[in-house]
Symmetry: C3
Subunit: 362 residues, 3 copies
Amino acid sequence: MTTEDTTTPRVNRRRFAGSVAAMGVVAAGAAALAPDGVRIVRETKADAAAPEAEHDHGGTTTSAAQTSNDMTADEMDAMHEEGVKAFPQATEGKGGMPLEYTEEDGVKVFNLTADAFQWEFQAGKYADAFGYNGVVPGPEIRVTEGDTIRVHLTNNLPESTAIHWHGVMVPNNMDGVPFITQPPIKPGETFTYEFPIREGNAGTHMYHSHNNSTEQVGKGLLGAFIIEPKDPSTRPEFDVEYTMILNDGPIGGYSINGKCFPATEPITVKLGQKLMMRFINEGQMIHPMHLHGMPMKVVAEDGYILDVPRMRDTILVDPGSRYEAIVEATELGAWAFHCHVLSHAESRHGMFGMVTVLFVEE
Amino acid sequence: MTTEDTTTPRVNRRRFAGSVAAMGVVAAGAAALAPDGVRIVRETKADAAAPEAEHDHGGTTTSAAQTSNDMTADEMDAMHEEGVKAFPQATEGKGGMPLEYTEEDGVKVFNLTADAFQWEFQAGKYADAFGYNGVVPGPEIRVTEGDTIRVHLTNNLPESTAIHWHGVMVPNNMDGVPFITQPPIKPGETFTYEFPIREGNAGTHMYHSHNNSTEQVGKGLLGAFIIEPKDPSTRPEFDVEYTMILNDGPIGGYSINGKCFPATEPITVKLGQKLMMRFINEGQMIHPMHLHGMPMKVVAEDGYILDVPRMRDTILVDPGSRYEAIVEATELGAWAFHCHVLSHAESRHGMFGMVTVLFVEE
Amino acid sequence: MTTEDTTTPRVNRRRFAGSVAAMGVVAAGAAALAPDGVRIVRETKADAAAPEAEHDHGGTTTSAAQTSNDMTADEMDAMHEEGVKAFPQATEGKGGMPLEYTEEDGVKVFNLTADAFQWEFQAGKYADAFGYNGVVPGPEIRVTEGDTIRVHLTNNLPESTAIHWHGVMVPNNMDGVPFITQPPIKPGETFTYEFPIREGNAGTHMYHSHNNSTEQVGKGLLGAFIIEPKDPSTRPEFDVEYTMILNDGPIGGYSINGKCFPATEPITVKLGQKLMMRFINEGQMIHPMHLHGMPMKVVAEDGYILDVPRMRDTILVDPGSRYEAIVEATELGAWAFHCHVLSHAESRHGMFGMVTVLFVEE
């Protein structure tokens, strides 16, 4: 287990500080004026001075939360504050970035490797990961209806693997199930998948291992597979999008895009923008994702447009399913966004795991 | 742990006895005529006499259910019967009653305290609870679109807290997330929340702690927050309503409105009435609630009216979500109403936990 | 526990072999041509020769999967292959077959017994079962709106029981809840249920024990109860149907229709047929069922036709709920069909539990 911190900050910590300041988060004991002029009075009857944290639990984990119940209120608050102030915590490695391709005779050609590596899911905390191209989640594959794609997968793992294109309509022998549709791809081998992207198959899908999958997907052999519509008018309009892949395996426990709070990535949009959220659950448990402040309009399930969208503030994301939901960013501020199975998100040591923040800025 | 029973009956035990008698529950070995004249014949081939229970397990719990497998059929039946006959078992304390308010300059002013206390979730069985105003669930806050409300929260707990108004559209600094939208409310402090109730936000919502929330919400810091529509014609019609808050934490394990069967509250309606069920899950697990006898029409999710209602006899209530469903009371009788994760409702010792009965009476 | 294999093959092993061959499953190291002419190149860089399995784990179980992590890739592949090649594994006993009835004065009369027996859920693996008429799941009861039915239930168990007709609209005293709607049916007794099948109640329902139900339903006291519409035009059309009852109790752990992969039953349809899937969950956990290759159109929930069907490739089947979904068999091949809680379907030893295959043949 690598313990040396060799991280390169990939997000600007000042953005969070600035956002919080802009949103008027109040200091202990202070009075504040809400954006709409509502008066807020906070009376302090006890000594509210928070001592400096004496514990080094900034990156708390579930197990840590179960070890100690003998903290004072101030000690609990200090740990909680330390976690929030660390957000978004810099870590090494960022998954889910677009996978580049080359074109060969009209075919989009992608290259993937399946590798074993150490993955930093929280500052200074590493897990034994399996992943595509060295990241968790694997890079995003984004194609368009009508494309033909070819994916070369080289297996650098110590065990066999195969890719299932979950939600993508493929010929049977491209379906990625060892001994049913193909032989397992053994260590050192390269297997080439090739198939056309059918019309009508647009939406949020995924690719992941279908061999020893509880372990391989749990350790990170997964990624988003987004199919753009040939005719954009067939899908809901939005300004910005964010893909949120949930997992609950050995990569830090409860994670969003391979990272655990406070190392999760904030989502930042401008007031008035339409944000498309793409929810994917690659784990073993349900994760009802709750966004504070604004409802989400569920517009597609498993890539299929709903004839009748439904509004929710909490979307039950179940294993294997995908949900697309539009958030109209009508409310300024820093809005918590987390799994509402509370034990996946908050302990006596503060927030952890499946938590991020949606910032709506002017 | 207080063990002395100081309960004041809050429900009339005779109502249940009377209802059961009216519904024709048959004695052992008897023949009965169903309401619609269908003949029921019960042949007794074995000695059906149920001995008096020799065990004192009337208030069974999950753990108790796992201790003994060496009972006879008659012993099992006796324990089962004892539990049903005890229903609705009197206990001290009743949560979820409407919270009164005063008006100050057109603002509805509510007062809440967060307290630690012993809560009797079943006769003679107490848990270490945290709750609002001394009850679990906390009192129901019921307001109307267009109101402005002010809530004074005094923290009498040994640790900090804060309230998130889950589903209610509030300004960011009223959202109740420590260190993101406000400082934690420390022991002894009072914090005042104030916000307008927006039009379009009607429906079933909730308020609960957003600090150390797995523990605080698990122990009971939660309540219903109902927003009435300004224009009642925008919501489905009903005659009577019942709010059912599910939890699966330290308050007795699997509970409905802070109580465990047989101490849960029966729901009684008249034949022909439309019953609005408001389901809220404040726990960590799914609870598919199954009503016997009549379907439920799901009309709203997270407060938002469904454009196309859906009929169900089992409604999957997931953590953080709310479901509103109309039951047309067309069938006379005593109808079991329980979580269909059977291990949340029945053991070798009979029914327990997330079980109640809907009585449809003439 | 009986360990002698006295099975009579009930399915033709050659069908699977033939299907796989027809679908072009490739041998290790081979090149293949997909049905639509897409070129597939498989480069072998390592020795891909799979040694004969030295372990006897053909029928792996969850617990077995947790015992050993020191296998080579080839050993893992061999166990995986052994499981797939064993599919569909012959076992003794097949549940869910139609229950015959006699007619008496216009009433359809069915006979059920509740028995304790050994149930072979996988070749050579037996569980202590409770079941109706000696099988798990119990025989399918299939009736038509407007029928009147009578069911004689004889209890041969060592403990009391009762049947709840889940989803079927019955008079209260036929609802099967001991001490609420009837006395428990004691060992040796016969109880007769009789009720009309109401119009409007068509769809996929179930019958199961409502006494000590966590244990009794877990051990197999459950079955499908299908109500045909009086007017077939009121329900979606289909060519063939398959009822899939999920369970996660003592009968082998994660099971489909009382069997665990590779002893689960394949589903075989002709290209172009419309397959009606009836999903029933009699377990304690969610099971999001994922079909590879083709989407499923959800047309009914709890028997009620959806006004607006929804397309899914993964259907969340929760305890107590039923989902009816139409699959248009447009894609030739052998398509994996499994629970997407991956730990219910695949371990280091290959696939197990809630896995089957949909064969679409010419």
